[in-house]
Symmetry: C2
Subunit: 714 residues, 2 copies
């Protein structure tokens, strides 16, 4: 039903005047839109009669090529306001749910500003609001540059916030938890000055930006469907608790090149008084466009191991030789002296393939297989990798055959060094090389300063690049796992071959600057709101050497918490990141990693509090198997795990992987036990989690009565 309202707009003195109201389907959320007396579009958002967003401005400053700056924040008039609604379900190619309901009420506001036109489309769901700007085809707005998008999020209080500082290049920060008013003074503390960080000045935070109000509202601000537009950061007014969109500039300082007809990404505000509903929200996915591909039969979730962690722990190197000054298609590697530490050699990769085949992993990631790593990391070099030339000790064809014989695939690695124009030039050749050699998935990397010079990881040009890669990969039926790319905004609905991204601190930071125990209790409320993360969990040897046997490092988790990550950190692409030899030493707990699914029918968020704990249960896709992960921050806790989602009247074997009573992430991280119990839909488990610890549970149907002999019923 299409309900068109033509509203006679009356300008008043208070703000907002003659607001147009839209309610969510369940009536809990209320959006109001109005023009204020300056003709500025403003909106408010309420949840169960609590203010979420106070009157906040919407608009732009733009630059027109001959006319200069044009103010699109005032002097608007309303042409029309129409409402619409949607209630449908769709099935993702893979995901946390096999079916997703898309249920919202919509308000489309058509505005004019003299002879220029701008629409604002609001979609109000039960769990939040999405809105975007649309510029219809029009004579007086053909192409323009965004000088600044003025989208305000005027908050109702000095909420607790979970945030990382603004940075156009990276999201690889530890999250801080402070009041909004304390963001500026804590900014320096957030910066660890690793090489890839280029924090920007001022009180600016990145999205997804998570908050909790004193009266118990959970609020998450992010964006959906970031396409052909720069990523949005948020400038923070620490006194008025007002956020404003802060777009990533291009090399000339512009904030987006727009040609009409055009639309911005959706600005999203997810709200609930129950933190679990934030994690369960599908609002961002629903605001993305449906899958672009007709044939998706080639897209499959992947569990994999990799020639990767051994380089971090000092057992090997990416580079093949200690020689440098390498030139592509000039340097003859066969004449260089090998360094004997090169990990991606044929024999070693075969060892990984054997291990993957033995334990049921689909793929083996191999980093450092291709020439160029010797000179990696400079600011200047552009022609560093060609993505098609293996090191002399990496026999592509031999490994292709070997892997195929074992039913395993090798996962490609394309580290671009952020020399993106070089990558684009070589992209077709690189993908053709992959297809010719049996690869169907690639991990991409963007470490360093973007070239074309002056562009940023999160700018419009790069945003388009990542999508270009996903799109081009799809032509070759290749799946993509991007690292150091702009954080996700639900585009995996549209491009489901873009399986996962990094775009946050993952396991590699256990070996570098470190990860505090609370890190992964915040990630699902922030970074993961946009899409799956290739976190690469599974470090069972949580105390390890780092680059040299003398220097040891330690993960910020217990061993068991690493298992829980396979459930709490959702991804259709999950790595078992530790060394094969480690897993051979821990066959009991390794069994959980082998068993755990990577695609799901249903997800049940059992407990959640950002920064403190998360407990999630998921049903494996197409199987009567459930997997539970629970984690806590630096504090021990008793998790309350329910099973009421299990089919009624059946009993199941639950294998519980738990921290021992003496376990502690810092002092005794690898102390664990494994026990089996029987559970039904009525069961209830009070489960101890050690400080920095977790729990992992696999639940299987009883196939044979002898299995349950001696098992206690929960």
């Amino acid at each position: 039903m299409r309900n068109i309202l033509f509203v006679l707009w009356i300008f008043g003195v208070s703000l907002p005047v003659r607001a147009q109201i839209l309610n969510s389907p369940d009536q809990n959320m209320t959006l109001a839109f109005a023009l204020d007396k300056q003709g500025t579009p403003v909106y408010t958002l309420n949840y169960k009669d609590k203010e979420v967003i106070k009157s906040s401005k919407l608009g732009f400053e733009i630059v027109l090529s001959k006319l200069g700056v044009l103010d699109l924040t005032r002097n608007f008039t309303v042409i029309s306001i129409t409402t619409d609604s949607e209630d449908s379900v769709w099935n993702p190619v893979w995901g946390e749910e096999k079916e997703i309901r898309n249920h919202y009420n919509e308000m489309l506001v058509k505005l004019s500003n003299a002879d220029r036109f701008m629409n604002i489309r609001f979609r109000l769901f039960d769990d939040g609001l999405g809105f975007r700007y649309e510029f219809p085809k029009q004579e007086k707005l053909y192409d323009f540059i965004v000088k600044e998008e003025i989208t305000e999020f005027n908050l109702a209080g000095d909420h607790n916030a979970f945030w990382i500082p603004g940075d156009y290049e990276t999201n690889e920060y530890v999250y801080l938890t402070t009041k909004i008013s304390e963001i500026a003074v804590n900014r320096e503390r957030a910066i660890t000055r690793i090489k890839t960080q280029v924090p920007i000045d001022g009180a600016v935070v990145q999205t997804p930006f998570m908050m909790k109000s004193d009266d118990g509202l959970y609020i998450n601000i992010h964006e959906a469907a970031l396409v052909d537009y720069p990523a949005m950061h948020l400038s923070v007014d620490i006194n008025d608790w007002k956020l404003c969109s802060h777009l990533v500039p291009d090399v000339w300082g512009g904030k987006g090149d727009i040609y009409t007809p055009a639309k911005t990404p959706w600005r999203t505000i997810i709200v609930s008084d129950d933190a679990r509903h934030i994690l369960a929200s599908k609002l961002i996915l629903n605001l993305n466009e449906p899958c672009r591909f007709e044939d998706v039969s080639w897209i499959k979730p992947i569990k994999y191991i990799g020639v990767w962690w051994e380089m971090f722990v000092g057992k090997g190197t990416w580079n093949y030789t200690d020689d440098t000054h390498i030139k592509l298609s000039v340097t003859d590697y066969s004449k260089l002296k090998p360094n004997t530490t090169h990990s991606a050699n044929t024999a070693n990769v075969k060892r990984y393939i054997d291990f993957a085949a033995k334990h049921g992993f689909e793929q083996v990631l191999v980093e450092g297989w291709n020439i160029g790593w010797e000179d990696w990391g400079g600011k200047v070099r552009t022609d560093l990798f060609d993505f098609v030339t293996p090191y002399p000790d990496f026999n592509v064809k031999e490994l292709q055959q070997y892997a195929a014989d074992k039913g395993v695939k090798v996962m490609m690695h394309h580290e671009t060094g952020a020399s993106v124009a070089n990558y684009e030039r070589r992209l077709d050749d690189a993908f053709r090389f992959m297809k010719e050699h049996g690869y169907n998935a690639v991990k991409t990397g963007y470490v360093g300063w973007i070239r074309p010079k002056g562009e940023h990881h999160d700018g419009q040009w790069m945003v388009n690049h990542y999508i270009h890669v996903a799109n081009t990969a799809a032509k070759y039926k290749i799946m993509v796992n991007s690292h150091e790319a702009v954080r996700p905004t639900g585009l995996h609905r549209t491009y489901p071959n873009w399986l996962a991204q990094e775009s946050a601190r993952g396991t590699e930071f256990e070996a570098m600057a470190g990860l505090p125990p609370e890190h992964t209790t915040i990630l699902p409320f922030t970074r993961l709101m946009g899409g799956p993360m290739d976190y690469t969990p599974g470090i069972l040897q949580t105390i390890f050497s780092y680059h040299s046997p003398k220097k040891t490092k330690q993960a910020g988790t217990t061993l068991v918490k690493q298992l829980a990550y396979y459930v709490t950190i959702y991804s259709p692409l999950q790595m078992a990141a530790d060394l094969p030899e480690t897993y051979e030493r821990f066959t009991d707990v390794f069994q959980f990693i082998k068993d755990v699914a990577v695609d799901w029918d249903h997800t049940y968020i059992l407990e959640a509090e950002p920064g403190d704990y998360i407990t999630i249960s998921r049903k494996a896709k197409g199987k009567n198997e459930w997997f539970i992960g629970g984690i806590t921050d630096e504090n021990a806790r008793m998790a309350n795990i329910t099973f009421d989602y299990l089919p009624v009247g059946k009993q199941y074997i639950a294998t519980i992987y738990e921290d021992s009573k003496t376990a502690h992430w810092k002092t005794n991280p690898m102390s664990y036990q494994v026990r089996k119990v029987l559970v039904t839909h009525k069961s209830n488990l009070k489960q101890y989690l050690a400080p920095g610890g977790g729990v992992a549970i696999s639940i299987k149907e009883v196939s044979d009565k002898t299995e349950i002999k001696g098992l206690k019923r929960l």
Copy 2:
């Protein structure tokens, strides 16, 4: 023979001290190299005891990533000086000569600057000097940014110069002829403020830079083998007549990213006391690397017509509709209203194919065949053309078949709008599309502001792009004709599929800002020194309408001069640019365009004076046919045409296409006559050329005695 001299270097007070001398093979040219007392490398160049280059500095200022600016202009010491020589011949795939002699003496100067190393390699030919900098592989110079190259050309006098002003984006200027001392005051006069011009401040000129000294020396400064380096302009010290290299910066102001081992392009100084030797020089080609391709059988010179001039004279349009706001893969052109003026429609292209087949042209260029032209020309849009989607009225498959049946090929057109990253993304698809549809040659275009933003047409990134296109095209056996690219530096030796370039004002300017009659008497001494130009001559209807029948324009030539261009403006790719209906009206003179060769065994520069006149005769490749072109500037003249290169003892029919006695480029341009005479190797022709006029002569063997009946012997 390798003659190695280890020289004990003694620092003196005068400059240069203890110069190391190198002579050209014919002993006419003398290079001296020395270090001055500051340890600065300096050189001088003499020709027949006349000073060409007075003591001039060589060196760099560079930026090292952690150390900052490093001065590589002083404090050098000599490690070694070695000499070498070469005398060989090679055969270009196509060219003005079927065999080219490479004959030079070489001096390699190895220098150190504390613990950093730089070499200078000089090659002295009979017709000039080439030298380049080489940075060997070394520990303390891995990668760096050129802050400025300090290569001086300290001239011996206030020469007459033929020049266009510095501009990082375009070479599309009219040449000015002034004293060097007058360059600054005439700069404004050189600028016509067309949209593509972005002249840079100060007394800066572009290369090839042509000079004539008061005592009759002709000097040309340019560069050879411009690869992975920005193009060189020349800063002019108008008081001291000193030129200094001025490189095109990147977006950060850097003048080249270098990683060792590395070498710069060759800096070239071609010198003679006979202007004809400048035009005959093969020095720049000799300094380029040999052909990179093993199989060159697919590379063929091309004579072509095109759906092109009709758009200039207002008979058609590139765009298909008057609608705008086109979006690739969104806009449905079949729903847009055609404008009825679109030239690249199937029926019209068939008419051109018919004409090409009838008159023996290999190809038909079609511009405006692909979607996107409606919104062309903005600064902002990047995703403007996809290079694979034809307009609804251009039937690719039908035309492929039609052209194939007639033995003709359609020439592809890729206008990028300078959105180069977009082009690179689509390059493989575009070339695959070409191969699938029978195309083997593409005209590329780069009109507009380069995106990646902030890069320049002549900067290092774009220099690499053009080569990338040539290289990628070669993979598909495609020939390239680039417009608006950086001016050539002899790279067509290395990439012979890169047939020709524009990179100067060609025929299109007859329809736009105009071309003075002297323009083409200067071009061969400037722009053409680097390589062939797709000038697109052959406008026989020299007075024509321009975009509307009411407005007429006029070429700066007589009709006959347009014929002469096929010989005086060398290119393996020659267009007959006028309308088919025009050629049908001038079948007598059109015969010359049909007859003239596009590849040559030998070239004879008969007369030449920059800015005044040029007369050239060439022998067709593998045929006993010769073609002569003679042109003059705005003054009438009597050309003195000799035939002593014809085989002795034979007589030939010469068809002379000449200006009538009353012809004049301005007042009576289309008045001509055609006559036939008999010539032998002893013949001599005093030929009248009208103001702004020319002469064209074809010479064929007598095949049948009846042909010569009634012909006068010259």
